[in-house]
């Protein structure tokens, strides 16, 4: 049985923890609103662009001289997983879920006999991957300095990845991030970004009458050369935005839970404290009364 003093100290420390989690929840909520707006505003562009690119990819006849970003390297040996996580913890299972999705994908690919490499964006993914897939991390990009994801950062990551792709370090790239569905739900996603996935056959057939006559200015090659790197950058930018929103959402929920748990704990400890105090008083009274009776 803990002493009264120990209980009191314990209650005090839980109370100060509760204050911290409450403050973190508030901060996360404020940042969430911002991040959510950014994520939602960025979606239309990313979806339109990937629509355009994939419809283009399904139309263009892939030849040896067509850009590698669309045609691939002709091999399917080395896969790169771009793992985008948050930089900080205390956000429930947010980072764990992304990493788990990426690991699952990596294990699938390894089971098929492929080589898997990792490109880490954000701080929280590195330790786990370094442990379970040693020597597979080719680079990592630290995003902890920036407040909110900027397009320039995404561009820098995309350029780096594209360069590595063109120099033949890998054949296929996947992007693992968490899609922001709502404050309560973030869904880890693993999408293929390089080479471009052509639009599904159904959509292709429907558009085929029109697609035969698409005109390009200046010409297909020039457009693709401009469009493809931009698409990679935009998909990464989108992943960063979704991650930011998801992170704060998850952190808010986690901190809300923590605050509530702390409240419960304080209640339980206070009841215990009061019971013990009463017991002590009762014992003292009994002692006094029996002492008086003995006189």
């Amino acid at each position: 049985m803990a002493s009264l003093k120990a209980l009191k100290l314990r209650i005090g420390s839980v109370k100060s923890t509760q204050k911290i989690t409450k403050a973190m929840k508030m901060v996360a909520a404020a940042k969430l609103r911002r991040a959510q707006q950014n994520a939602e505003a960025g979606r239309p562009y990313a979806t339109r662009l990937s629509e355009v690119v994939s419809s283009l990819a399904s139309r263009v006849t892939v030849g040896p001289q067509s850009p590698k970003l669309i045609a691939g390297t002709g091999k399917d040996e080395t896969h790169l997983i771009v793992l985008a996580t948050g930089d900080r913890g205390l956000a429930g299972a947010f980072n764990t879920n992304i990493v788990r999705a990426a690991r699952k994908k990596a294990e699938e690919l390894q089971a098929q006999g492929k080589t898997v490499l990792f490109y880490i964006v954000g701080r929280k993914g590195r330790p786990v991957i370094a442990r379970s897939f040693p020597k597979s991390i080719i680079a990592d990009h630290d995003t902890s300095g920036m407040k909110s994801p900027a397009y320039a950062d995404a561009q820098a990551i995309a350029d780096d990845i594209t360069d590595r792709f063109l120099s033949g370090q890998f054949d296929v790239a996947h992007l693992a991030y968490s899609e922001f569905k709502s404050v309560l739900a973030q869904e880890p996603q693993v999408d293929q970004i390089i080479p471009v996935v052509p639009a599904p056959a159904a959509a292709n057939n429907k558009g085929s009458t029109a697609s035969a006559a698409v005109e390009y200015e200046p010409d297909e090659e020039a457009i693709l050369a401009d469009l493809l790197p931009r698409n990679v950058a935009i998909q990464i930018y989108r992943a960063l935005l979704e991650n930011a929103a998801g992170f704060y959402g998850s952190q808010m929920t986690a901190m809300d839970n923590a605050t509530r748990n702390a409240g419960d704990m304080i209640n339980r400890l206070s009841i215990q404290y009061n019971r013990q105090r009463q017991a002590a008083i009762t014992t003292e009274l009994v002692e006094i009364i029996s002492g008086a009776e003995a006189l």
Binding site: P44, R48, I223
Partner: protein
């Protein structure tokens, strides 16, 4: 004649999504007007102004755009610009 579905999107947000009569787009090889039923077409943009004609013969609304693409497909005209301001 049916109106043209016109969408203008930048990385930051969806600027416009509207049914309009005609849009004049600054293509890299010259400006071109798009009305409903335009043949499939795709081009990069040069910096310049979009002119949006809400109705036939009406006053155009101009939107400055820079960088990006315009795609005309079955769904209408989609302009993906780096930046846009009215």
């Amino acid at each position: 004649m049916a109106d043209l579905h016109f969408e203008l999107v930048t990385p930051e947000k969806l600027v416009r999504s509207d049914e309009v009569h005609m849009v004049v787009v600054p293509g890299v090889e010259g400006d071109f007007g798009v009305m409903a039923g335009h043949a499939p077409f795709m081009t990069t943009l040069k910096d310049g102004s979009l002119q949006v004609f809400k109705t036939a013969g009406g006053q155009p609304e101009t939107i400055k755009v820079s960088g990006g693409f315009a795609e005309v497909g079955d769904k209408g005209l989609t302009v993906l610009a780096e930046s846009a301001e009215a």
